[in-house]
């Protein structure tokens, strides 16, 4: 290697202007030559580290989450290698890197969330370089951040000759309670360098302070923020791990902020849209499910394991084929009856409710419905659903029977026009006095598209086929 650089001469380290891991150069007076102005991510000096910035993998992306690293520190990288999986606003996309070299340092570990476009996520060095002692290039963003944040904190001390820091009354009270003797140490972000209550709260959390007020005897010391792991991932980490929402416990008052994931935010938005824009109407019916339960037992005895839910899906499919109005989409001002019966089955996952679709449910057999639903549920819980597997659908079924819920009403999933909420089966005396199992289903439907008669007809058919499951064999 030495001969290749022979007559260029190695530039001595101290004039590179990079912030070294061990040595901190606050003044940073080192000058770079004008032909190689420090340009973020694109500068390649002969013997310097190559910063790797967070790429914009879709035109609308502003920040993303690094889901998984495919390379470890020290791994060689060839052009075209997969570097990491990044969750964008749309999907999880693999970031291929075109540079050649060795991955020296991973700066943002797996599950780092809200990494802004352009921020440094890793550092690479050329082949043959010592990657373990690689210098981390100073990013222009961090330097500008440092300069802007230092301004407000220096303003109070520079502006006021005495130690009089501007703070809000709430902040002052908190400082007294937590015995912050030197108020200058709290970084201020308020206007004109004022210390806000939020600043004090943040300071308390980072410094792990406790309240000294003895009046509050049963005070729980503030627990440190459940932070996301910062150590580099092990090679055996599982694919696409779900990030548990971080819970911050406020030291005062005891309320909990549960951070919402992207998925929850989208769910929230859609539910609000649905409940406010669609005129929901409800109709419910009780079905005697003894025959269905007997059929299920027969199937299990002969080897095919099916659940009540599968029978319900098939019954709904059967009914939707006959009352087609309910198998429709509302498109703003017209009703579009869907050609096939695609039933979205609600599956609860850690990050929210998702509805994978059982396509053409009316034509599938019970065992096919069973295997499809099981496979989709597994995929949903692992976060591996493809967009076409949960987008679309003409009807939704939500089943809370496993929780013992007797009856509930669900919210319609636009552009669908109806959703069926299935409860649990309860033993009740029938009209003849015998104990029978009754299942209550309640359908929420879009009154713009479906009227009461059609909704009732659908439920009538549904009840018919649930009470006589042999009709499903047709």
């Amino acid at each position: 290697m030495a001969s290749a650089f022979g007559h260029f001469g190695r530039r001595s380290i101290q004039f590179t202007g990079f912030r070294r891991i061990l040595h901190y150069d606050p003044c940073n007076i080192v000058q770079r030559s004008t032909s190689e102005i420090r340009s973020f991510h694109l500068n390649r000096n002969v013997d310097a580290s190559i910063p790797v910035a967070m790429p914009a993998l879709s035109p609308t992306m502003t920040e993303g989450t690094i889901v998984k690293w495919h390379k470890k520190e020290g791994d060689p990288i060839s052009p075209g290698d997969m570097l990491c999986d990044i969750q964008t606003d749309k999907a999880v996309i693999t970031f291929d890197i075109e540079e050649e070299g060795i991955l020296a340092k991973i700066l943002k570990a797996e599950n780092s969330k809200n990494v802004k476009i352009g921020s440094m996520i890793a550092v690479m060095v050329e082949e043959g370089e010592d990657w373990q002692n690689a210098e981390i290039p100073e990013s222009s963003e961090s330097s500008s951040e440092a300069s802007t944040s230092s301004e407000p904190s220096s303003a109070p001390s520079a502006g006021e000759p005495t130690a009089r820091i501007r703070m809000s009354p709430a902040a002052r009270k908190m400082m007294e309670e937590y015995n912050i003797s030197s108020p200058q140490t709290v970084p201020a972000t308020g206007p004109h360098g004022m210390v806000n209550k939020g600043d004090v709260l943040k300071y308390i959390q980072t410094q792990h302070l406790t309240k000294i007020d003895l009046r509050k005897a049963a005070q729980v010391p503030p627990s440190p923020q459940k932070s996301t792991p910062t150590t580099p991932s092990t090679p055996t980490s599982s694919p696409v791990t779900r990030v548990p929402p971080s819970i911050t416990v406020s030291p005062e008052g005891g309320y909990q902020d549960i951070e919402t994931t992207n998925m929850r935010r989208v769910i929230a938005k859609r539910l609000t849209e649905s409940k406010t824009m669609i005129p929901h109407s409800y109709v419910s019916i009780e079905c005697k499910v003894d025959a269905a339960m007997k059929l299920r037992k027969k199937f299990i005895a002969s080897g095919t394991k099916i659940s009540m839910n599968d029978i319900i899906v098939k019954a709904a499919g059967y009914s939707l084929q006959r009352v087609q109005k309910v198998n429709s989409h509302w498109s703003g001002d017209s009703i579009q009856i869907q050609p096939t019966v695609d039933i979205s089955v609600a599956v609860a996952t850690d990050s929210g409710l998702i509805t994978p679709i059982v396509r053409n449910a009316a034509e599938l057999s019970l065992s096919q419905i069973s295997s499809t639903t099981k496979a989709l549920a597994v995929k949903a819980r692992d976060g591996k659903l493809q967009p076409q597997e949960f987008q679309g659908g003409s009807f939704t079924i939500s089943n809370l029977g496993m929780f013992g819920i007797g009856e509930f009403s669900a919210i319609i999933n636009p552009p669908q026009t109806a959703v069926l909420a299935v409860g649990t089966s309860v033993l009740k005396p029938s009209a003849e006095g015998k104990p029978c199992s009754y299942l209550t289903v309640k359908m929420s439907y879009d009154s713009r598209a479906i009227d009461e008669t059609e909704a009732s007809q659908f439920l009538e058919k549904f009840q018919q086929v649930m009470e006589n499951p042999s009709l499903l064999m047709v």
Partner: protein
């Protein structure tokens, strides 16, 4: 030969390397070497290009330099796109460098070239500096089209772009050849298109007119195996694109070997000047996806891309060949690598700092020679701006 002298004259003004710096070498290298080329499959041709090519030291370094520049420039464009400095469309040429570099070495600056939207490599070899290309991609005033065109609309003398509509450039190319013949110029028009465009109807209309009037047109199909995401087997009933010209003779060449491309183009140019149109199918490969919004891995295996990079990469294979026959030394090539990287990095930095054109430029370049007081109306009828 006439065409040979023209080439020697134009060689001195190529973009990039300062060849004289490489003439002095500490190690013993040979001044030229003869390398083997894969034999071409021919259609309606009795003999094709030779199976051996002689390359001089200067040419070898120049090819290496140009291919490295195109590769690095495309990588840089990709990085700039991911940093949101380039927006809109961006179709990268990485993997196909041998085609543009090889062809350019066999044609003159007076020959015309027209291609489709995967044109950055061609823009470079036709004489536009990387700084102007990157400036155009980032929309700056220093771009070759003042930043008004972007990735798909780059032009220079005798380079007609840069065309967005698939296959639209082929009838245009036949037209350019018609113009050259009409004016009795001893030049050809190289008309490039891809395997996706090869099934377009207007191509066959262009073939007909070219053959009927014996136009000096060299049709080149850059077959990289995929039309966007569709592989050639799923798109074409006949994947022998070199024979699709039917009555136009054709040949299939190895588009990853710069010397094969050079020899084929030399042969085709002579044929076109004397006998009429000819078709070349260059079997090549692109590493990136179709454009920046396509990862390129949903329709082909990563292993396939990796294999192509390792076994058939035009730069790596050429590098190995010229090192093996002692045309160059590893140090010289390393120096080329460093110089090219530096140049492209500088060009990118410069492009990011350059200003964009002022709003007044919106009204310019409508007519080629407007009267000095010619004004153009804005959206608001009260706005009138002089147009240049």
């Amino acid at each position: 030969m006439f065409s040979l002298t023209l080439r020697q004259i134009s060689r001195n003004s190529f973009v990039g390397a300062n060849v004289s710096a490489f003439n002095v070498s500490k190690y013993s290298t040979v001044p030229e070497a003869t390398l083997d080329i894969q034999k071409c499959t021919l259609h309606k041709l009795e003999h094709g290009p030779p199976t051996q090519a002689t390359v001089t030291r200067e040419d070898a370094i120049r090819f290496y330099w140009d291919m490295r520049t195109v590769r690095r420039m495309e990588t840089m464009a990709g990085n700039l796109y991911k940093a949101k400095q380039i927006r809109g469309f961006c179709h990268l040429y990485s993997g196909q460098e041998a085609v543009c570099v090889g062809m350019e070495s066999s044609i003159t600056k007076d020959d015309a070239v027209i291609t489709a939207y995967r044109a950055h490599g061609w823009t470079y070899v036709r004489g536009v500096a990387p700084h102007a290309i990157l400036g155009e991609l980032t929309g700056r005033a220093s771009g070759c089209a003042k930043g008004k065109g972007g990735s798909m609309h780059m032009y220079t003398k005798n380079f007609y772009g840069g065309n967005g509509i698939v296959g639209a450039q082929v009838p245009l190319g036949a037209g350019i050849a018609f113009g050259l013949k009409y004016e009795n110029k001893p030049n050809i028009c190289v008309t490039l298109y891809g395997d996706g465009a090869a099934n377009q109807g207007q191509l066959f209309e262009a073939y007909n007119m070219a053959k009927l009037w014996n136009l000096p047109c060299v049709f080149v199909c850059e077959n990289n195996g995929y039309g966007m995401g569709t592989s050639v087997e799923r798109a074409s009933a006949s994947t022998d694109y070199y024979s699709r010209g039917d009555y136009i003779p054709g040949m299939r060449i190895d588009g990853m070997d710069v010397l094969a491309v050079r020899e084929a183009t030399k042969f085709a140019r002579e044929y076109a000047l004397n006998n009429g149109p000819i078709l070349i199918e260059a079997a090549t490969y692109r590493y990136h996806g179709h454009s920046m919004s396509d990862p390129g891995t949903s329709y082909r295996a990563r292993e396939e891309i990796k294999e192509m990079r390792e076994t058939r990469d035009p730069i790596t294979v050429f590098r190995r060949k010229i090192l093996e026959c002692n045309l160059v030394t590893p140090e010289e090539l390393k120096k080329v690598d460093i110089e090219v990287d530096k140049e492209i990095d500088k060009a990118a930095d410069q492009a990011k700092k350059d200003p964009e054109i002022p709003l007044g430029e919106l009204y310019n370049n409508i007519y080629i020679h407007p009267d000095p007081d010619y004004t153009v109306r804005g959206c608001d009828p009260s706005i009138r701006v002089i147009s240049h």
